[in-house]
Symmetry: C2
């Protein structure tokens, strides 16, 4: 029953969460291979109380591996996934390398677990903003189909990796101390600032992160008629994304109570919607949590018969990355 | 020509900006009276190189005053505005006390300056989020009427006053140092967090800040048919608000070039929309600026024929408060 696991990018922000999630979810891990760049080789990481030495990733790293969890960027996935498959492993890939490939399933286990069955060696983990949005939208959508999504994100530094998280902390300290600070990882000063997601903008005027939210949603929900518009923005938050979501419905619109019930009975979702105490989803509370928090659930004030608004917060490194990937791996057991 | 000016709330975050804006805009100030709570009385503030002593606000503070700039909260405005009017002054009120009163003009000088003429002693300064949104929407709306606005805000701590700005800095320092921190001014930890604006929520599910953006926009644009939905959110930023704005058009939709031209030729607006270098409006750059910055100007990716999206950043203490109020006072000269 136990599976031999390789983690590619083991020393990164998501890589470290893979270890923690596998442990917390009692994943039946046989052999464990921690792979990273030669620079990180030799480091020691602990899993279930045992120390493992990080090895440099090579073509030959995947012998005897059953499941390879990749989170080292698209170019590493493109270069090494096939080697893992050739060695007999199934790849669960957290990068965007294969997400839109026709023969690669794109899976959120609570939403489309059956898609994972038809893999050809690779299953892709969706973009973090897409996963967290769908955890708030799908529970309602499955009963009340949505035809329109307009979303604005409040994205954490973790989406740009551990170095970006450190830069947010260092930049914040510098600004508080009145010292100059020039960012090296992120394109702009993150501390006490907000800036547009810096992925490439195409002729539509939308950046890649925003387009991912459209195309990945269409693929996961198997419905490209849903009109989706996203504005992706970074905020000075360490590791949980928040999103302000506006929904239009195809046919019927649920009542607020129905929407709340659909959400609270959905696995992986907690409703945090206390109007009296102004307690709604916050990244600081979603950080470190497996569940996504959904609140501000309300009929649209201008179009109450047809539209609805809500707000979600979810840990970018967990449900947005490592947790969702480990849940995919669980589907392979 | 010179006007005798009283500033109510002179030691607050907006009060201090009143002094700076009056100076920078060469406002013809005759006598200057700085008023605040008894606690702040006796403090000295500098205006045009001269020191002024802050006095405790009383009913009799307004003798010989021509224009009284109020920014000390609704209850102070309700209690003292009439005394200022009785003494012959015109009140420019930055609080929400009178904004929706039928006989009180609600003015953004670039948008509806003519409304200021019909005052009965009080002219109200709109809510900061409303002003900053309209500076981005009105330049387009005046030629291409909008029928729908869906907005999500990224609001700075300054909107909750100077104590909230200090709390953001203190809380940030505490969290960076790994120390516990309990907020006293804001309802939640602001540092490295995002939370829903904590103004009172009514039966619609919308909070007061969000409803202000609806009703004040209707009053300023004299059009209550525009469907407006707002989600107001605080982010760890010191003094400039940002807003992600989705527009639907009543008849025709402008091209991106037309929208950019309408915005860049509008007073008080700068277009910051460099897709190649990912340089768009940011609160850190809008802070301390009189202009609002508008960018991410794009046809909606899902409804390019009918809808458009953009992003604005503006200094909450300046165009969102002190600058707009001083511009209103300039209309009285």
């Amino acid at each position: 029953m136990a599976k031999n696991i390789a983690i590619v990018g083991a020393t990164g922000a998501v890589g470290l969460e893979f270890l923690s999630v596998l442990e917390k979810r009692d994943f039946p891990v046989g052999d464990l291979k921690l792979l990273a760049s030669p620079r990180s080789a030799g480091k020691e990481l602990t899993f279930r109380g045992k120390k493992y030495k990080v090895e440099a990733l090579t073509k030959d790293s995947f012998q005897e591996i059953d499941i390879a969890l990749f989170s080292a960027g698209s170019s590493i996935s493109k270069e090494y996934a096939q080697h893992a498959i050739n060695a007999g492993a199934v790849v669960v890939d957290n990068s965007s390398a294969f997400r839109m490939d026709k023969d690669v399933p794109l899976v959120v286990p609570e939403i489309n677990p059956e898609a994972a069955k038809n893999h050809n060696g690779i299953i892709a983990n969706p973009n973090c903003s897409t996963i967290i949005m769908l955890m708030a939208v799908y529970p309602i959508h499955q009963k009340y189909p949505v035809s329109r999504i307009i979303v604005s994100t409040y994205q954490a530094a973790s989406g740009a990796g551990m170095a970006a998280m450190q830069e947010l902390e260092e930049g914040t300290r510098a600004i508080l101390d009145g010292k100059p600070f020039t960012p090296k990882v992120l394109p702009h000063v993150a501390a006490f600032n907000v800036f547009s997601h810096n992925s490439a903008i195409d002729e539509t005027g939308y950046n890649q992160e925003e387009r991912k939210m459209v195309y990945e949603t269409w693929k996961i929900l198997e419905d490209d008629t849903i009109k989706i518009s996203a504005t992706c923005v970074r905020v000075p938050v360490l590791r949980a994304h928040s999103e302000s979501i506006h929904l239009g419905f195809r046919d019927k619109t649920p009542s607020e109570e129905e929407a709340r019930e659909l959400l609270s009975s959905f696995p992986g979702v907690q409703v945090v919607d206390d109007r009296e105490h102004s307690h709604f989803p916050m990244p600081i509370e979603a950080s470190g949590q497996f569940d996504c928090f959904v609140g501000r659930i309300r009929k649209d004030i201008a179009e109450p018969e047809k539209e609805m608004e809500l707000f979600v917060a979810g840990d970018q490194l967990l449900k947005g990355a490592a947790l969702n990937a480990v849940q995919i791996a669980e589907l392979l057991l």
